[in-house]
Symmetry: C2
Subunit: 92 residues, 2 copies
């Protein structure tokens, strides 16, 4: 499945909703952000989504990674965030 592409103009609440839907569907979600503004919205979305799943006793974690992507034929470095449910064994 394609990653959720987050931009600096994305609404973190909307992205959080999409994130929860994708995770419910396939167990995890991948977000892609290019630039500090986009990443900011992506991370806010994860923080908000944690609040969405908390009432059902779940929690979300994310693992960031670099990704080389191409935009309009130019190479750029994106940050990917893999987001998934925290397993119950995982304690903070």
């Amino acid at each position: 499945m394609n990653p959720l592409k987050v931009s600096s103009r994305s609404n973190p609440n909307s992205v959080a909703g999409a994130l929860v839907a994708v995770i419910r569907d396939q167990g995890f979600a991948e977000m892609q952000a290019v630039g500090a503004g986009a990443l900011n919205q992506a991370v806010k979305a994860v923080a908000i989504a944690r609040g969405f799943v908390a009432p059902s006793g779940n929690d979300l974690i994310c693992a960031p990674a670099f990704a080389d992507i191409e935009i309009n034929g130019e190479g750029r470095t994106a940050l990917k965030l893999l987001v998934e449910k925290r397993t119950r064994q995982q304690s903070l």
Copy 2:
């Protein structure tokens, strides 16, 4: 313990080194970033730190959360990233 305060001028490699040291010491680390530029460096640091711990068979995950802090008497919203080792039960 105080959170690692990351700014937009922080070097992600240095922050990654500090992160790994703190996690080795106390099992987890907390980062605090105010603003998109600072958060960008913080998330890059986690991605880099994942590479630092990978050769020993470990992985790191983070859980973002909002935090109300005060800077020079003014209320600001920071993003906190709780970073810890992924447990082996947690699969991606």
